[in-house]
């Protein structure tokens, strides 16, 4: 057992850190400093900067344009980006449909779709969930019926994050209504500019633009946009879900929040005493930092296992569960430290310190972290059955 990184990996870390310092535009760095919400323009600008450096898709194979980093380097890169508060790139192209096209797409599809994803020229979104099917994904009702060389799509998708900005959406659609639940589903790519597609953006309870309802009315899509065989979309979807879970341990963002918490606690006084010097507040911060430290070690275990080529072990399944909870707890603690300031809604310049401005909003919209990516309840069902071998109900 060895908890240190190799000299090479440490050198790479310093390279990354220095590059971020030099390359991050000042306005983005200013937002990062206070963990403000990044709008889509920020995200895509940062995407292109990373692309120029070759680091936009560390997990892509070299032949598709990946940088050929080791597992540990990939981790170090991600960690440093998170710690720097860099905009989180949209995962829908890079981490979801991209890898799916690599695994299941034809050479033509790979050539058509992968380069624009890498360059950030085309933005993607995900059409999985429907109003009636959240956790029970396979109960989806959006249909695509065959009409010559085309498919005609009708239905509604929800939770289509970034649909208002997206050029393309990848969808699960029911192509065989007669087949059993999972059997009649296909994986289809739809150009968002196709007539009949409409994305209606919604706000979160944190007042951030986040996801859309996306409607399909008689939308004509070429059969060539199917990934995998007709009625064979469930296999593609399952492979893709696996990628999603590891994205949301949120250790780096939580570490940034701990730092922000300490800064708030240092700046906030009560009768002349900084809250960080108050034993009760300091204890609460310390306890949360300890929990995050344990999570970070669990994250490192998963990384180290992956670097050795092990399949993700039980330690990775806890990352989503506790990662999402701890991230929420960091916002809750920051919110509590602010006292009356937490009442202020964001975008009211000068009312409360900049550092606090996005806390209340973040506290609200991050209630989503225990819901999305497979709700924590669903995660527990999976762990109970898959890892603990507990009997079905």
């Amino acid at each position: 057992m060895d908890l240190s990184f190799s000299a090479e990996d440490n050198a790479f870390r310093h390279e990354v850190r220095a590059w971020i310092r030099e390359s991050m535009p000042t306005d983005i760095a200013a937002k990062a400093e206070i963990d403000a919400h990044f709008d889509m323009a920020d995200v895509m600008r940062w995407h292109k900067i990373l692309f120029a450096r070759g680091w936009v898709a560390p997990h892509w194979p070299k032949r598709f344009g990946g940088p050929g980093l080791t597992a540990t380097q990939r981790f170090v890169l991600t960690e440093e980006l998170e710690l720097a508060g860099a905009p989180a790139l949209s995962p829908f192209g890079l981490s979801m449909v991209g890898p799916a096209i690599m695994q299941f797409g034809t050479p033509e599809q790979q050539e058509r779709f992968l380069p624009p994803i890498l360059r950030g020229d085309e933005v993607w979104c995900q059409g999985y969930s429907e109003p009636g099917s959240g956790s029970d994904l396979a109960s989806l009702r959006t249909t695509a019926r065959i009409d010559g060389d085309d498919l005609i799509v009708d239905g509604q998708k929800t939770w289509t994050t970034y649909a208002q900005y997206a050029d393309w959406i990848f969808c699960l659609v029911r192509t065989n209504p007669g087949a059993k639940k999972q059997a009649g589903i296909s994986f289809l790519l739809v150009d968002m500019k196709t007539p009949g597609v409409e994305a209606r953006p919604m706000l979160t309870i944190g007042n951030t633009p986040a996801f859309c309802d996306t409607f399909f009315a008689n939308v004509r899509v070429p059969r060539a946009n199917l990934i995998g065989p007709l009625d064979g979309g469930w296999t593609v979807a399952k492979a893709l879900l696996g990628h999603e879970r590891t994205l949301i341990a949120a250790v780096g963002p939580s570490q940034r929040m701990i730092r922000r918490i300490k800064r708030i606690a240092t700046d906030t006084t009560d009768g002349g005493q900084a809250l960080i010097d108050d034993p009760a507040w300091r204890s609460r911060i310390a306890r949360l930092e300890v929990k995050l430290q344990a999570l970070q070690m669990a994250n490192y275990r998963a990384l180290a296992g992956a670097a050795l080529g092990h399949a993700p072990g039980p330690e990775s399944s806890i990352l989503k569960l506790r990662g999402s909870e701890i991230y929420q707890q960091t916002f809750e603690l920051a919110f509590d430290l602010m006292g009356s300031h937490a009442l202020a809604w964001f975008n009211e310049p000068g009312v409360i310190p900049e550092l606090e401005q996005w806390v209340a909003s973040g506290y609200c919209y991050n209630r989503a972290t225990t819901i999305y990516g497979g709700s924590n309840e669903i995660q527990k069902n999976i762990i109970a059955k898959m890892l603990l071998g507990l009997p079905g109900a």
Binding site: I205, G271, L343, E348, R367
Partner: protein, 376 residues
């Protein structure tokens, strides 16, 4: 011992329920977010006697008590009625009533009870968490009155106020001044708040005539009592909020289907709903204590009741709000769904007039807390 509502209180409850159903359902709260006050509705509340409910008859009030007010505010909480009842009537009203002379009552309290004037209390200052006393706002005697200088934060209802009651130190002791909106040197900045009900930030360097200093009672005591009353009534409104959040959630659990069954048939979600229910019942139980003791003359008894209720609301209310969103799943995160409105109002209520940490400390700082003779 009796926890039943009197016939009058039952009637008040029925009237209030009918009123909010017709005049201020939840959709109104959504529409009025960050918006202006509907003065006609406020005056109507005055006509119904609600704005004079907690005030003694000798100051022109209805002669009710905080159990009556709790009945009303629980109903207001259930549809998030946006009117500043807590801030204006309960908080500012109590301070005015306690600290004012009969003339001053006549001048400002009467108009407030009729719904003609909105009053707000400005007491919160930067750098002092939920302190009931002024710290850096100062008034100095000048010709014909006082020079009043300072800043006040998060004045609830302040963006609607016609008149402010502002606390400040005079010779190191707390004093209260009535300062109408529009007074020279007074800047009122409206700000938005998480619950959409808004507040104001005040800066002032103004001349205040002598007769606008409240001189009918001990200002420190009036502030303490006002904040206790407001804290206690926050719990009443919070109970209404919790109850509605629980109802929405139960209804979702019963109707939303996944895997071919209502999600409310899953035991883990059932038990979560039970925990929410239990917390709501505990808030309801402790509210009875807080409402009954909100105007108790013994500060230790009053602080015991109001702080314990406020702490329980903070613990229970936050749990209920968070779980309500969680059990709604994805739609619970959208601003379009109503549960988020309850979620945010609940958090504003737990903060208002002292957060959990503040009231835990105050509860533990009472002399009776460490008096071990009391209990046996």
């Amino acid at each position: 011992m009796n926890f039943e509502l009197s016939e009058e209180q039952q009637l008040l409850q029925q009237n209030a329920r009918a009123f909010v159903k017709q005049r201020s359902p939840l959709s109104r709260a959504r529409k009025l977010r960050d918006g202006a006050l509907d003065r006609a509705l406020w005056r109507e509340m005055g006509d119904l006697g609600w704005l004079s409910l907690p005030f003694a008859e000798d100051v022109g009030g209805f002669g009710g008590n905080f159990v009556d007010v709790a009945v009303l505010l629980e109903v207001f909480g259930s549809t998030l009625v946006p009117e500043p009842y807590l801030a204006s009537i309960v908080l500012a009203g109590t301070v005015l009533a306690r600290a004012g002379t009969p003339d001053q009552h006549q001048r400002w309290l009467s108009a407030m009870m009729e719904g003609r004037t909105i009053v707000a209390l400005a007491h919160d200052e930067p750098g002092h968490r939920f302190s009931p006393r002024p710290h850096s706002a100062v008034a100095v005697a000048v010709a014909d009155g006082y020079r009043l200088r300072g800043r006040k934060e998060f004045v609830l209802g302040g963006q609607h106020a016609d008149v402010f009651v502002i606390s400040a130190l005079v010779g190191g002791e707390p004093a209260l001044f009535v300062v109408p909106c529009g007074t020279e040197g007074l800047t009122v900045r409206s700000i938005r708040t998480i619950d959409g009900q808004g507040a104001a930030m005040l800066e002032f360097d103004s001349h205040v005539p002598s007769d606008q200093r409240l001189t009918g009672g001990d200002p420190g005591d009036a502030l303490d009592r006002g904040l206790d009353a407001a804290a206690a009534m926050t719990v009443a409104e919070g109970l209404g909020v919790c109850r509605s959040a629980l109802e929405l959630t139960l209804s979702h659990l019963k109707t939303r289907e996944q895997f071919g069954v209502p999600i409310g048939s899953f035991q883990a979600l059932q038990h979560r709903a039970v925990e929410m229910f239990v917390e709501v019942e505990l808030v309801r139980s402790i509210l009875a204590l807080a409402a009954a003791r909100a105007d108790h003359d013994n500060p230790d008894v009053r602080h015991h009741a109001t702080s314990s209720a406020k702490v329980q609301l903070a613990m229970s209310g936050r749990f209920v709000a968070q779980q309500a969103v969680q059990l709604h799943g994805g739609i619970g995160i959208t601003d379009e769904h109503d549960i988020g409105l309850y979620f945010k109002r609940m958090h504003a209520l737990t903060l208002a007039f002292g957060d959990e940490e503040h009231h835990v400390r105050r509860f533990g700082a009472r002399p009776a807390f460490t008096d071990l003779r009391a209990n046996s």
